[in-house]
């Protein structure tokens, strides 16, 4: 019997079990197989279950009556259906569900990787020891845990492929190839030599990861078309028996906006990640995607393209599988009955205070660390435990506890490291990836498609958070602090004579002792500005502020700089203005810097007027919220889409459009149009307005300081 030790790269279903790819310590890529039975359950009316029995007994499955646990209903009599063909499960279940739609089904749509982890305790990207006979695994033993803080790095071979331009705008001429330190280009003029070159590279380099730009939406579909055209077979999979798995493009509504997800191309035996079609790749890169894959149990190429919500759902499924709880295909739990008074009392979000408008000096910002997940874990808030006293640890806290602990440990390590340390970027990416999983876990308590969600548990978390914030406020005020602002999980406090970080430590200790939730000092602002509503100067806007910490670092939220639809030009000037203001050490000095900001703005306008601002800095990016035809009054993005549609381009809701403000009939000029905009046609007045607004935002808070002098 052969043995191997290495990292588990990939797991996927096959007709007779599962396929595994192992990257061994001696740098081999082993393709192994494993027998793997899969069981799902059906519950409901016994007469119907008898019919199901008759329907399934002709098929190649094992049927059994058993008792399993539903998280909400407790023990249930169910029919267990076991198949040894994991790849055929989806089809068989689909047919069964169509035949018997009114039954409750469990464990029928669990990703194969999660089933594998639950059975072997061997995680994706984790190290393991396998014994195998003729490529068939006899035993597998985990050698690492996903919760290790410092996992052994995987020596991945990464091949990067990127065209020389965005294929949606114009036809690329070259494909840039990067492998290790080597970089070169393949010409795209003729498909035949290109395919031969790429095929040779794939065979020679045998990459574990093909990292592309536009691989999903252009390169892989194009490779297929060229392959057909030239007759040159090119299979980018490492598993030669497989073809590329493609998924169609779609638009979906999530987090308050319509999002477009391009078509996808997944590989077998190696990964393909399209950096332009991976949801949060820009934020935490490959390290973050791998960290999420490690802890969620979803493959890297899937996780890179999915939302963190899919990751947290997978983690909950895994916890359920490991605790012999069935995972329902459809959540059925509904909200309990509430009277109008109860609904008004309970249906709230986090606590948001009305900040004191204007500039404030020496203000400390203190944040509860991962407040909502910490509340769920500490107070055992889970859909099945909400409202119960002394309930055993619920499924959600059980899922979140290791995640929360790991993130806090990573953050602690980061805070001890020198910022120049080469590990900092990697640790930051991993901490950010975990943070996103924690951020969405709260929303998933109330999310309609969550497998284990219940609106009451969602409400319980926000109710607890409001109570804890009020407790923190009372502690701060008892210690003589003025609470200037509170926003969901952070407080801004000030006390005469307090400006060193250490002076706020007793306050944080007292809050932590009172609430039981860890709290950390974000920093002490030299000055911080809370903004007033542009419509009514008496009304504060809770989520708009900016300030400079004592080391000059800026922090800004909710202002133009943070908005995706602000042009790069406006963002640059607003940031420069803030940098000028950050030199001020007090609110009074802030006011003295305002003339410098005004000069900066005038210079910027002059540059624009004489055409010195590159057009790409003036591009505005907006999403289409619906199909173009659905717009009664087309938005600027819709106008840009219409211009491109006239040139044959198609758009789906959620897709972003780039355009310039122009002096023409529609007021916009689509950036992707072949003919460039004549700079004389640029609508400079519109850009001036955008800049005026952005500068007004940053200088407005010091108005009260300037007024008396003017009056004098």
């Amino acid at each position: 019997m052969a043995k191997a030790i290495g990292w588990l790269l990939d797991v996927y279903a096959e007709d007779d079990g599962i396929n595994l790819w192992l990257l061994t310590d001696d740098d081999k890529r082993l393709h192994l197989h494993m027998e793997f039975d899969i069981t799902f359950y059906a519950a409901g009316d016994f007469n119907l279950l008898r019919q199901v029995w008759k329907y399934l007994k002709e098929k190649d499955v094992k049927l059994e009556r058993t008792v399993r646990r539903d998280l909400f209903l407790g023990e249930r009599d169910v029919m267990a259906v076991t198949t040894s063909n994991p790849a055929g499960l989806q089809k068989m279940f689909g047919e069964l569900q169509r035949q018997f739609p009114s039954l409750d089904y469990y464990d029928a749509d669990i990703p194969i990787t999660l089933r594998f982890i639950a059975r072997t305790n061997t995680y994706l990207l984790g190290r393991c020891h396998v014994r195998f006979d003729d490529e068939w695994i006899q035993s597998i033993e985990p050698l690492s845990s996903p919760w290790e803080i410092d996992p052994t790095p995987i020596p991945l071979r990464i091949l990067t492929l990127a065209p020389d331009c965005n294929p949606a705008i114009r036809k690329p001429k070259q494909l840039h190839v990067k492998y290790g330190q080597r970089e070169y280009s393949l010409s795209l003029d003729s498909p035949r030599p290109f395919l031969i070159g790429l095929k040779a590279d794939l065979q020679r380099l045998d990459p574990d990861l093909i990292l592309t730009d536009y691989g999903d939406t252009w390169l892989f579909p194009q490779l297929g078309a060229w392959s057909e055209e030239t007759g040159i077979e090119l299979n980018p999979n490492r598993d030669e028996n497989r073809q590329i798995m493609t998924r169609k493009a779609d638009s979906y509504f999530a987090y308050g906006q319509v999002t477009y997800r391009g078509a996808q191309s997944h590989l077998f035996g190696r990964w393909h990640i399209d950096r332009k079609n991976a949801m949060s790749f820009g934020e935490y890169g490959l390290e973050g995607a791998m960290e999420q894959a490690r802890v969620t149990g979803i493959g890297v190429q899937e996780m890179a393209r999915k939302s963190p919500g899919a990751g947290i759902t997978a983690m909950q499924m895994l916890t359920a599988l490991c605790n012999a709880v069935m995972v329902p295909v459809q959540k059925q739990q509904v909200e309990g009955t509430k009277t109008l008074s109860e609904l008004i009392r309970t249906d709230h979000g986090g606590l948001i205070y009305q900040p004191l408008i204007g500039l404030h000096g020496n203000v400390a910002q203190i944040d509860f660390s991962s407040m909502y997940p910490a509340i769920m874990v500490k107070h055992n808030i889970s859909p099945e435990t909400v409202g119960l006293e002394n309930a055993p640890e619920g499924l959600i806290p059980k899922t979140l506890r290791p995640l929360l602990e790991k993130r806090l440990m990573l953050k602690n390590i980061l805070s001890d490291l020198d910022p120049r340390d080469c590990r900092v970027e990697i640790l930051k990416a991993r901490a950010a990836a975990l943070k996103w999983l924690l951020v969405v876990c709260f929303g998933y308590l109330g999310y309609k498609n969550a497998r284990f969600g219940k609106i009451e548990s969602h409400e319980a978390v926000t109710a607890t958070s409001r109570e804890l914030m009020l407790q923190a406020k009372e502690v701060a005020e008892d210690m003589g602090f003025t609470v200037i602002h509170m926003y969901v999980d952070c407080l801004f406090v000030q006390q005469e004579g307090f400006h060193k970080p250490s002076e706020f430590t007793p306050l944080m200790n007292a809050i932590e002792e009172k609430t039981g939730i860890p709290i950390a000092l974000e920093g002490v602002f030299k000055w911080v500005a809370f903004l007033a509503s542009k419509r009514d100067a008496r009304v504060p806007v809770p989520n708009q502020y900016f300030g400079a910490f004592q080391d000059g670092t800026l922090k800004y939220r909710g202002i133009e700089l943070r908005r995706r639809d602000t042009t790069l030009w406006v963002r640059k000037i607003q940031l420069k203005a803030l940098e000028i203001l950050a030199r001020a050490n007090t609110p009074r000095e802030f006011a003295n810097r305002v003339p410098d900001v005004m000069n900066l703005m005038e210079d910027a306008k002059r540059e624009l007027r004489i055409g010195r601002v590159p057009l790409d800095e003036l591009v505005i990016r907006q999403r289409l919220s619906q199909t173009i035809e659905a717009y009664k009054t087309p938005s600027p993005a819709a106008h840009a889409a219409l211009q491109l549609q006239a040139h044959g381009r198609q758009f789906a809701p959620g897709q972003s459009l780039e355009f310039l403000f122009a002096r023409n009939g529609t007021g916009v000029h689509a950036w992707e149009l072949e003919e460039a905009l004549d700079s004389g046609k640029l609508d400079t007045k519109r850009y001036y307005k955008l800049l005026d607004r952005a500068i007004q935002t940053v200088i407005d808070p010091c108005k009260p300081l300037l007024m008396p002098e003017r009056l004098l």
Binding site: P101, K331, T337, L343, K448
Partner: protein, 185 residues
């Protein structure tokens, strides 16, 4: 459709009777009208509200009650509501609602059935099940269902399915677009 057609402007209260299913169909699932109706019914007795489209506005109802009575809490404590966020939940919600001698309001019943992630055959099956539960409730108290149009025409049949079962259907008439002669001066 077995019932009569009305325009939404009419007073719904006089036609509310046990054994009657009243459907109100407008572009926004009678957002304002339904809140007024809830407040009016709350002043008279217990009401069960089932919300399928996040249409229930508790503050708006509280404000409306305030204009009618100083004793808000009595009315507020007899307005019982539950929300469904998927059509599966709507089905569970209806089947777990007891038959009581009081009015039932089902807000934006079809909203979750318009979700394109739910296969058409599944939406049809679940709605059929929901309608049989609604028929059960009709036997014990009047039921008012509000509806909004689907985003895609393919789901129009769901509207018809509900309206076919209704005793009265009230439809908001779209403002008539009359040709107007431009003035000369």
């Amino acid at each position: 459709m077995k019932g009569r057609l009305y325009s939404v402007g009419m007073d719904i209260l006089p036609v509310l009777k046990t054994g009657k299913l009243i459907v109100i169909y407008t572009s926004d699932a009678a957002r304002t009208e339904s809140m007024v109706l809830i407040a009016e019914l709350g002043l008279r007795g217990a009401v069960t509200i089932m919300d399928g489209g996040n249409r229930y506005r508790p503050y708006q109802v509280a404000k409306l009650l305030r204009t009618k009575t100083v004793d808000i809490s009595t009315a507020a404590n007899r307005l019982f509501s539950r929300r469904a966020f998927t059509c599966y939940e709507m089905n569970t919600l209806l089947s777990s609602t007891p038959s009581l001698n009081q009015p039932y309001l089902i807000l934006d019943l079809l909203n979750t059935f318009y979700d394109d992630h739910v296969p058409t055959y599944e939406a049809y099956r679940l709605l059929k099940s929901c309608l049989s539960q609604i028929q059960r409730l009709v036997l014990s108290g009047p039921v008012v269902v509000t509806l909004a149009p689907p985003l895609a025409e393919e789901r129009d049949f769901l509207l018809e399915q509900v309206c076919r079962q209704a005793d009265e259907v009230m439809i908001q008439e779209a403002p008539a677009c009359q040709p107007t002669q431009p003035s000369l001066f």
